[in-house]
């Protein structure tokens, strides 16, 4: 632990560019990540609408779509390949630029330094670089919409050799797929810089009295996530580089000999498609936890404040998050049960996957057990946190099926899988983002969001997302295959009414997000002024002004006396004791 003299310090910038664009301030960078995530989620959501509309009304022209791609959607009617191209972009945007950017890089950047009493990140320049690197990755990905025959169609998992052999394998597989691989490689660099920064900051810049055990659960979640990210993106980066080489330099890392694609014998030999799958999922499974762990931290932090009590055990919660992070590196092969890898290894990957249920169950039981006897206050933030628990359970139990190789034989590549990961890493993580937004908005802007609109947004989103994603599981049980642009098989045709229901639910739930957007923008300028601590919370971010000054604590150096969550302490003057208050507390 360092004294503050060594902490990164910088004076308040004055010019617009240094203040808002190339800012070194972790709070501005956090907001930039959030803003980029918001842009990406809007695009990703519109893409999902277009896909859902195409699935159920395949011949209905979609106004304006023809402008996006004349060949992909002539007259506004999507071709089968354009469906796959939009699907690839939807997945890539959501997983990388939304689920990684917002709960981890966005909120983490803004609040990790403040929650440990630091003035900034350990390496502010690195921090600025990590955001702008990510931004460049975003631009490169978006460029794929406007080149040649458009974005790639190989899905966000970019399985080789479909993604590796170039234009022969299909539309978008020429320039589009190369841009995709370059974009993800750049993204990895941004995440590696960010993860290193988070780790160094957590270990080095904690203020006096802020022991590791006294860090809020959200800080712990970001810290563990950054450790996962450092290992995961360090594997995806070389994988993407090898893919780029296969595509542009004629190497054969992922392409075996004797492939005849579009009547062309491919000039490659010696590569392995399974190598790509191993490298991709070695990153890909931990990535699920990169999305969900920060959300767990955020909703725990919000719930504790709303329940006016700490969780039953701070240490057990942290230990569970750590063991989930650790186990996440031993389970990647469960994505490959039917991939043709040695069937004995499927059993080896299945067991740790099932074991991961244990820390996940303990976490859920601790959230539930902590609700018992609490004084739960219902706010938009706490509603989304409770919704997270419900979603996490719903998405989690379906993982129990997919963790077993024998059941995966039937359910693999069906909509059951799509339902599973959308609920557990998509919707649950997004609920975490909403909870974080409603909770921290006053701190970030000095204004309150409308609670009324926030609650309305919650009810519509909770019911809406269940209506969209629960039926995915039913379709999967019936054997409905994913990544089909239309359902021509006899057994899938009777499932169309379910698809129609889901499409309508998706359109309505998506429209309900406009309430959130309105609330966000309107409250930013017209919201009621927020005090420094509107939720009567205890952690350090609530000891400073809203929004915090450039150096976070206005020249003061907070000293920490307690565990982070001193609520309802017997004998205390109020029902909470701030972490920097010398008042005697329970710990």
């Amino acid at each position: 632990m360092h004294d503050h003299a060594q902490a990164a310090q910088h004076a308040a910038p004055t010019g617009f560019i240094r203040k808002y664009v190339f800012s070194l301030d972790h709070k501005v960078i956090g907001k930039q990540y959030y803003g980029l995530g918001l842009l990406a989620v809007l695009i990703g959501m519109v893409l999902s609408w277009l896909m859902r509309i195409h699935l159920v009304w395949p011949n209905t022209p979609i106004p304006g779509l023809g402008l996006l791609s004349k060949t992909g959607a002539p007259g506004g009617v999507m071709t089968p390949e354009y469906y796959l191209q939009l699907m690839t972009m939807h997945g890539t945007l959501m997983v990388f630029f939304v689920l990684t950017n917002v709960p981890f890089a966005g909120f983490g950047n803004y609040f990790l330094p403040i929650q440990i009493g630091a003035e900034d990140m350990a390496f502010p320049r690195f921090n600025m670089m990590s955001f702008w690197t990510t931004f460049v990755a975003f631009l490169v990905l978006m460029a794929a919409f406007f080149v040649g025959d458009g974005p790639p169609l190989a899905g966000w998992t970019a399985y080789a050799p479909l993604s590796a052999v170039g234009a022969d394998s299909g539309p978008g597989e020429a320039v589009g797929q190369t841009l995709w691989a370059i974009s993800i490689a750049i993204f990895c660099i941004g995440q590696l810089l960010g993860s290193l920064n988070f780790i160094a900051t957590t270990l080095d810049l904690r203020t006096k009295g802020m022991t590791l055990a006294r860090m809020p659960v959200s800080t712990w979640a970001w810290f563990i996530t950054s450790c996962i990210g450092l290992l995961a993106f360090a594997v995806l980066l070389p994988a993407c580089l090898l893919l780029i080489l296969d595509r542009v330099a004629g190497t054969s890392f992922f392409i075996p000999a004797n492939l005849v694609v579009s009547d062309h014998l491919q000039p490659h030999s010696g590569g392995s498609p399974l190598l790509w799958q191993h490298l991709f999922w070695f990153f890909g499974h931990p990535e699920v936890y990169i999305a969900i762990l920060p959300a767990m931290g955020i909703i725990s932090h919000v719930l504790i404040t709303s329940m006016r009590r700490p969780l039953l055990s701070h240490r057990v919660v942290i230990a569970c998050m750590m063991s989930i992070g650790f186990l996440s590196y031993m389970v990647w092969g469960h994505h490959m049960f039917v991939s043709g890898m040695n069937p004995a290894s499927s059993l080896a990957f299945s067991f740790p996957t099932l074991i991961i249920t244990i820390p996940a169950t303990i976490l859920t039981l601790i959230w539930l057990g902590s609700l018992y006897g609490s004084r739960l206050q219902i706010t938009a933030a706490s509603l989304f946190s409770l919704g997270f628990i419900s979603m996490f359970v719903s998405g989690g139990v379906s993982g129990f099926f997919l963790a077993q190789p024998s059941i995966d034989i039937y359910l693999h590549a069906t909509y059951f899988v799509v339902g599973h990961f959308h609920m557990v890493m998509g919707v649950a993580a997004i609920f975490g983002m909403f909870a974080g937004t409603y909770f921290w908005f006053p701190k970030m802007t000095g204004r309150m969001m409308s609670e009324k609109l926030g609650k309305l947004h919650f009810w519509l989103t909770l019911v809406g997302t269940y209506c969209i994603f629960m039926p995915f599981h039913y379709l999967g049980l019936a054997g409905n295959v994913r990544r089909y642009s239309s359902f021509v098989d006899d057994f899938m045709k009777p499932l169309m009414p379910v698809h129609k229901f889901m499409t309508i639910a998706a359109l309505l739930t998506g429209a309900a997000q406009l309430i959130f957007l309105y609330n966000l923008i309107h409250s930013r300028f017209r919201g009621a002024p927020a005090s420094a601590n509107p939720w009567e919370a205890t952690s350090l971010e609530w000891t400073t002004a809203s929004p915090p000054p450039v150096d976070n604590f206005g020249g003061k150096h907070p000293v920490v006396y307690h565990d982070p969550y001193q609520y309802s302490v017997e004998g205390a003057a109020k029902d909470y004791i701030m972490q920097d208050s010398p008042e005697p507390a329970a710990d």
């Binding site: 394998s169 299909g170 909770l462």
Partner: protein, 267 residues
């Protein structure tokens, strides 16, 4: 508002469970010998996962109902048993579930992958390519001729790249676009891909296996019920992926023999 949350969650949980309990959308009837073990495994998992799902949602609802909107001076009390009790409960409950499912599940998996094909199994070569499956039977000599990818010529119906002029073993091979097999007899699929990753999925057989370019994979199964079923591709393989399918026809042995003779005559 907490009560409203509780009611909503209970309604969502019950409504979600209805189609499962009523089997509104369920796997079709199993027609393979190994499939029943997979079905049993699935049913047991459904019971355990379904119970965990409903229990967790109901407990969440009850707790929010009971402990939201309490007066400001209400005393905050601890959960009896505390974190320790919950950790032990999770370890015992989930641990035993995992052991049970993990061990039972290995049996079902082993019946598919760790048993050798029967001695009288019918070998069928399956080739996947954008966007069709082709099947090859070895003919009377029981041997498949070698493949020459550079000779693949779809315009002239040489889907596999065989060389009948130079390879005597290829001469009697029978290539079809439909997979016909006899009922109650082991079938040994020898799978390879011509171009990219594909997959072989027949719901009724409880079989799904990827084709991996560069790898020769094999799989065996015994179908127990005659009929016509769809084989579909489940590994994203390009623009025609949704339309990549073939039919599996399970028929009595004598019909199969007749069918094979007809196909041989067409070559």
């Amino acid at each position: 508002m907490g009560k409203f949350f509780a009611i909503t969650i209970v309604i969502i949980a019950l409504a979600s469970a209805v189609p499962i309990v009523r089997h509104t959308w369920a796997p079709p009837q199993n027609i393979s010998v190994h499939g029943s073990a997979i079905d049993d495994q699935m049913s047991e998992t459904m019971v355990e996962a379904g119970f965990s799902f409903l229990a967790a949602q109901f407990v969440l609802a009850v707790l929010v109902w009971k402990f939201s909107s309490r007066p400001r001076d209400a005393k905050v009390t601890k959960f009896p048993g505390g974190a320790k009790g919950l950790v032990i409960a999770a370890l015992i409950l989930v641990g035993s579930e995992i052991l049970a499912l993990g061990i039972l599940g290995q049996k079902a998996w082993a019946s598919v992958y760790f048993t050798p094909p029967a001695a009288n199994a019918i070998p069928v070569q399956v080739q996947a390519g954008q966007f069709a499956f082709y099947f090859r039977y070895p003919g009377p000599d029981g041997k498949f001729g070698p493949l020459h990818p550079e000779k693949i010529d779809e315009a002239n119906q040489n889907f596999f790249g065989v060389d009948v002029d130079h390879d005597p073993e290829s001469k009697d091979d029978i290539v079809t676009a439909e997979l016909a097999i006899p009922v109650n007899r082991d079938v040994h699929l020898l799978m390879h891909s011509k171009d990219l990753g594909h997959s072989f999925y027949v719901r009724e057989l409880r079989i799904q296996q990827d084709f991996v370019p560069g790898l020769d994979l094999s799989l065996h199964f015994t179908a127990t019920k005659t009929g016509k079923y769809e084989i579909v591709c489940t590994q994203l393989c390009g623009l025609g992926h949704y339309n990549m399918k073939a039919y599996l026809e399970v028929m009595p042995q004598e019909n199969f023999d007749k069918w094979l003779a007809q196909q041989a005559a067409l070559q």
